[in-house]
Symmetry: C2
């Protein structure tokens, strides 16, 4: 069914155009008109794919989550020692290159925007919390966690650590660099795992 395929490809192209507009002008500039222009489409043509601005933005936001999830799944399927695998996945969530920085910038703009569109979409449930839970239970099953940890608090602590670091990497990239983020996550994992990396 080539028509449906084309339809989905075109929707993705429009979503990517919306990312570029958000990166350049912020959410204030992400009007249907500006996005259509960036995508090289007429307003009418764009409306064929997305009937409202919110439908477009929700699709564009979900595409960010989809891309991050794809990259994480790829790491999860690799043959790696458990602690190394967990470390690589955590580092994947934090923006340390231009592409991930752009994704997080878009995510950040969406979340801020969505705060005042409570009925329409729920940008805060990005799957990171669920992912962190899984990672902690994975370390536990592999018998790598130290004794005397409170696992629910460790999940919460790692979740805050990752999201806080991601926010700092986005907002203040000159202060905190990739090497430091790597060192921080290794340090934290060492503090909760039984063996040294």
């Amino acid at each position: 069914m080539p028509k449906i395929v084309d339809h989905n490809i075109r929707k993705r192209q429009i979503a990517e155009a919306s990312w570029r507009v958000i990166l350049e002008q912020g959410m204030e500039g992400a009007t249907v008109r500006n996005i259509a222009k960036e995508a090289g489409l007429s307003l009418g043509a764009l409306r064929h794919y997305f009937s409202t601005q919110d439908a477009l933005l929700e699709f564009a936001m979900n595409l960010v989550i989809e891309r991050v999830t794809e990259r994480i799944t790829k790491i999860a399927l690799k043959e790696l020692p458990p602690k190394e695998k967990v470390l690589q996945i955590l580092l994947e969530i934090v923006p340390t290159d231009a592409e991930k920085m752009a994704e997080m910038e878009v995510w950040f703009s969406f979340v801020s925007y969505a705060r005042h569109k409570k009925d329409s979409f729920d940008a805060q449930h990005d799957g990171i919390y669920t992912g962190i839970r899984k990672l902690m239970y994975y370390l536990d099953e592999e018998k790598l966690l130290r004794k005397n940890l409170t696992i629910e608090l460790e999940i919460e602590r790692l979740y805050s650590l990752v999201d806080g670091t991601a926010m700092h990497a986005l907002l203040d990239p000159n202060r905190i660099e990739k090497k430091q983020i790597h060192a921080l996550f290794v340090y934290h994992l060492q503090s909760i795992c039984i063996e040294d990396f």
Copy 2:
């Protein structure tokens, strides 16, 4: 000089009006026109106090930081055991009641907005990082930190933990409650300090 006092009081009232507008309508709605209306002033009268929208927003943002700093200073001056003092200060940064939630909401909107106004103001340098550094060195001077910690990484870790938790408390208040945030911070401080709380 009553005139100057009046001028400053009026500026604060306008800033507080801008917070209410941001809370209700988001940054998109924080136009000079809407803020003037909320403050019960004409556009001309508002322009007397702030010549541009950015000048107003920067003042309003700094007022948020000033209020948080005031509350923290009050705790810092209290007679408290060092670890209890650090805990109370950390909890002050995280929004756990309606007033702090509103402040952080305003802060979050500002940061997102300011990302695309690079020349005008620098919302990310909110003093939290400097504060966290001081707290860690305070614990160190009081000889409360465990041996074998890397203090620079502990500063970074606590900074991410606090900001990540603050963001989660704001974006997902139904998932994480005041009691859990308290438990998380006690848990983290226990993990880096020599004695139990």
